[in-house]
Point group: C2
Chain length 387, copies 2
Amino acid sequence: MKQTGDLSLVKKMNTAIVLDAVLRHAPLSRAQISERTGLNKATVSSLVQDLIDSHLVLDLGPGESSGGRKPNLLQFRSRSGHAVGIDLGVNYIRGILTDLEGCVVAERRIALKAHDAKSVIPQLLACIEALRGEIPPCPYGMVGIGIGVPGLVNEDGTILFAPNLSWTEVPLRAIAEERFGVPVTIDNEANAGAQGEQRYGAGRGIANQIYVSAGIGIGTGMILNKELYKGSGGFSGELGHLSIHADGKPCRCGNRGCWELYASENALLEQAEPLGFHDLDGLLEAAGQGREDVVALFERIGEALGVGIANIVNVFNPDVVIIGNEMRRAEAWIGGAVQRTVAARALAHHQRKLKVLFAEQGEKSAVRGAAYYAISSFLAKMKGSGA
Amino acid sequence: MKQTGDLSLVKKMNTAIVLDAVLRHAPLSRAQISERTGLNKATVSSLVQDLIDSHLVLDLGPGESSGGRKPNLLQFRSRSGHAVGIDLGVNYIRGILTDLEGCVVAERRIALKAHDAKSVIPQLLACIEALRGEIPPCPYGMVGIGIGVPGLVNEDGTILFAPNLSWTEVPLRAIAEERFGVPVTIDNEANAGAQGEQRYGAGRGIANQIYVSAGIGIGTGMILNKELYKGSGGFSGELGHLSIHADGKPCRCGNRGCWELYASENALLEQAEPLGFHDLDGLLEAAGQGREDVVALFERIGEALGVGIANIVNVFNPDVVIIGNEMRRAEAWIGGAVQRTVAARALAHHQRKLKVLFAEQGEKSAVRGAAYYAISSFLAKMKGSGA
DNA sequence: CAAACTTTGTTTGTCTAGTAAACAAAGTAA
DNA sequence: TTACTTTGTTTACTAGACAAACAAAGTTTG
């Protein structure tokens, strides 16, 4: 077994600390970094020089003096590399190109006509190719690719099972890495969405965040202690199959009364059928025009969402629960019912700091999270290599 | 902000690595440690010397040669300090004295007549006092105290609320530290039980373990990635208030259909009342004599337990779920129903590696876990100090 | 405006801790 | 008896952090 508790580790850690300081508080001087982090001035100078040499930090030159020599301000060079994020949906592919801070630089969207891997994968690769073409000249070019998919993914980046695409055993990571020669990360769409909101959305800086991806089914991404939680073997987050009616309808998963049978977009559309509606857009419009039966339906779905969220709150006592994916669009009609139900059912103690929010990044939560995977593994590598 | 990414950290880490190697694979030689950990022989020698100087490691002298110079075998000196663990129950205090490996050296049990803090605390302190008296001469004496309590505890070791004792705001840690002058850790009984099973029982070496403390209510201790998970502000684990019947009976917590209303010892006794039973002992005896209504009752409770456990499995995808506390005693009568229900309701994928077990440490899970708190914080301190 | 003080960032020397390599001690095998 | 092995220590070296001194570039004050 090898587990070096060695010297270079210290440098790695300190480099990470310095880089984080620059990322979070730019522009700032070496002196400020030293003060803020507790690291010695000499150490900071040396590490900063390394970061400048590796194009990750830029010396902007002198700033305003505060009664002594002018500081040399430093900034993160977010444009020295770019990441590609992909959100593979059931009937679309969304792709973005971001800089190293995660800012969106370019964007594409493709509508999918068929689901089969044979036709989808070439389109997906073409989308990446196109985004790569838009990268401006920079030292690192495309540093990595992150892909969020609607299914179960194992640690090798193979999609084990994507029910709504009817895919099984698709080694997507291997395919993409082979083609583009950069690190590729594949993860579940809910996990990607959770990351997106954690980094760029409603969960910024919050330690314990649960992201509820309410679409056709319900998936969840759990960020505990600022890290994505993955259960045994890398699979968890099947909160959609938390049973809320022990004797309720049987679910395809084998259990009965699963949450997603009552609170997903599917559940909504099923119950909308008798009212004469077949998609979310129609329902939203009708509710907007004041159709009471539709408003009542949204209310009912909102309550069901709230029941599950109350359970989540009692289990995890998170700081924030974020509702994302398609159902987020119904915020105006379900928001009240969700909040009311949670308030009534979650433990009072756990509600003190709790916030239940809707995804700030909207339909982009998952793509941006996917891009973040690529950015963070690149930066982790850079912190390590030192040079 | 201070976050030294400094040098001494490396030593701390390596000392910890060496000590762990000794703990896990004793008796072994310096050479073996070097091989196993990847650390240089010289480094190992130096660190081992430090550990010997601080009485944590013993050089047993030469062992069997394997074709060259005889190795000097090393062992953990588990008797150079002792820890006290306390399990504060609703009608008893259980206390143990352990060595640094957690082995039980002495034991006490006190039956409580009253619940009020004024009468219980002196008895608790006296119990600790008595156990301290039994410590044989050793370099470190009593290194710490761990206490498991049936209630909500904050980060300062204050019992915020213990419903079944009717305690609120009892600063137990401060009281005990003042009295004994050693570090005291207070935690919830379910968390302590989880630790006990993780270290000494059915969860040894398992990364993701959920401990279900099924007693008067249902509490849970979650060990994720080998660490106790505590939610925002240090409170979580209220899985007992996971709702399994969204429209079920109202619970004192505000929610409806909470798991513990259907699967706890209380639920059992409530339903046993009409059958003419008032305690678990009576029920166990009757079931043993083949009373069918009692057996059926156990079956029903077992199913309810299973429903909740299936939910837990779907949420956490743990490697193992351990059922502890009073209800564990009914293993023979509820075990089958639990296993059956979980098998039917949990996601098939998550069941592959899953095991549902009963607490191996029996009634001692919590005390031993409590003692472990004291041991681990002592050892953490020793690894840090170096000398 | 000169002198005194401040702030920034580099340089210099010291210290800690880990490593590699040589070596001594103590054994086994041929 | 000679050669090889294994163990654990010693020695010399290296990386990296730090403290203190210092130089550079300001600002403030008398």
